[in-house]
Symmetry: C2
Amino acid sequence: MSLITVGTMAFDAIETPFGKIDKIVGGSAIYVAYAASNFVKPVQQISIVGYDFPEEEMEELRKRGVHLDGVEIIKDKKSFFWSGRYHEDMNSRDTLITDLNVLADFDPKIPDSYQGAEFLMLGNLMPKLQLNVIQELKKRPKFIVMDTMNFWMETAMHDLKIVLKYIDMLMLNDAEARQLTGQYSLVKAAKIILTLGPKFLIIKKGEHGALLFHNDEVFFAPALPLEDVFDPTGAGDTFAGGFIGHLAKTGDISFENMKRAIIVGSAMASFCVEKFGPTRLKEINKDDIDRRIQQFKDLVSFEFELV
Amino acid sequence: MSLITVGTMAFDAIETPFGKIDKIVGGSAIYVAYAASNFVKPVQQISIVGYDFPEEEMEELRKRGVHLDGVEIIKDKKSFFWSGRYHEDMNSRDTLITDLNVLADFDPKIPDSYQGAEFLMLGNLMPKLQLNVIQELKKRPKFIVMDTMNFWMETAMHDLKIVLKYIDMLMLNDAEARQLTGQYSLVKAAKIILTLGPKFLIIKKGEHGALLFHNDEVFFAPALPLEDVFDPTGAGDTFAGGFIGHLAKTGDISFENMKRAIIVGSAMASFCVEKFGPTRLKEINKDDIDRRIQQFKDLVSFEFELV
């Protein structure tokens, strides 16, 4: 099975209570690719970068089975740049700088070689662009996951609601679910979102785990309790990459398999936060991942015979 | 197996975004008793009330196998009274009134009929009083659980640290764990607390579930995602009551059985928040509880064969 991912490839500057880094590769499609490529090949990337995006990073991705035919390189502009500072609790952050650069021109095109992909991960982008991608695909993928954010709810809600009708799963965080629906209760918010188009919904709660909703079913995956969250940047995208990577690897979109996929996503995200940016994701191998998944099993598994 | 519970029996006035009640029975020992009595009899209550505490409530407790020989009735004083208002998110609240009344004179005594109990639940009280209870027991219980709160860390930390040396398990919330240790990371906080006396630790995270720590092991129990949390008052004590009730029922203090106990506690707490005060706890029966425990199993159970 193949997977198309659409999103940003960027530079980030990050400040956390634990340290500071002035320039590191980032962007949603970077995290999705590093996570998903552990499970499925090819990962077919759609993004845009400037003249300054490092060829070594491209090579690193290629080595992992990430196809870059869909990554446009703009020769006279810089790559997207984001800079942020995390608060003491690591759950909230201030955005210091957002330099769109090449991203202002992003008009995603699907290379012919990508056509026919079974899985599509639409990273957080302007809803119109997300819709364009869906409509450019000659054959509808078996499963389409979409990420979004509060900014689009404030500036492009109309378009956002149109895209929702075309996707299978929406993935957003708790604050965004509340904003989208005006409901504080996540259970009520989920019920509303499941009437807007997607048949599946994941609400990410950061260090408090993630909830999967489908019809009247709900599944909860915890986050791994860690001694330190060093840098949360990209954890949500890494979660998404692990999730859809597992789905694409198995080709199985049953609710039971989505439970496994959400655990895989949580495991990948737990690596992501251990070092700056995607650093840790480049170091781990299958054994590390399997051990981490086992930790998740141990964390929540219990035997209970009701008599 | 029998269980001694020590704590308050009181009146509460509660205001939530969903409603308001001027006077309802409450207090830690009330919630522990209503939860634990589903699993173990007798529950041997130690508390203090005034002339105004309703005999019907006492009768209701007796019917459930709660012994009240250890509940002192002060004929010329009123019962402890607490009044609070919950914020929109239901995770934080303002205390409006705290009238100690009889609680100012509380000097818990153990009736002879309670001696020999295998389990002891020390509700949140002045640490000196908690220590007195332990020292008045002729035979050390098999398992002692203690609750506490930030107020005692601010006013009686020295005494609190002494009590910690005598107990088996400390139960507190995330903010309190951070305050007790000065560590933001709950994993680091847990490591420190486990050097202070208790061999087991539960950190309650409200709607985000609860963590159980022992040596290098950790277990996580989610809270049930609910449409509405109507009134969180007493949820932590109800959790404690369900937890120790299951331990006392089974007599098994293995880590594996504590996992089950923490699920039982979470299930009981999920009922508690459905109506004002302990109202819902008085309505439910074994079938309701079993169905709720099954919901918890469904919520987190997944099959994952690592290959």
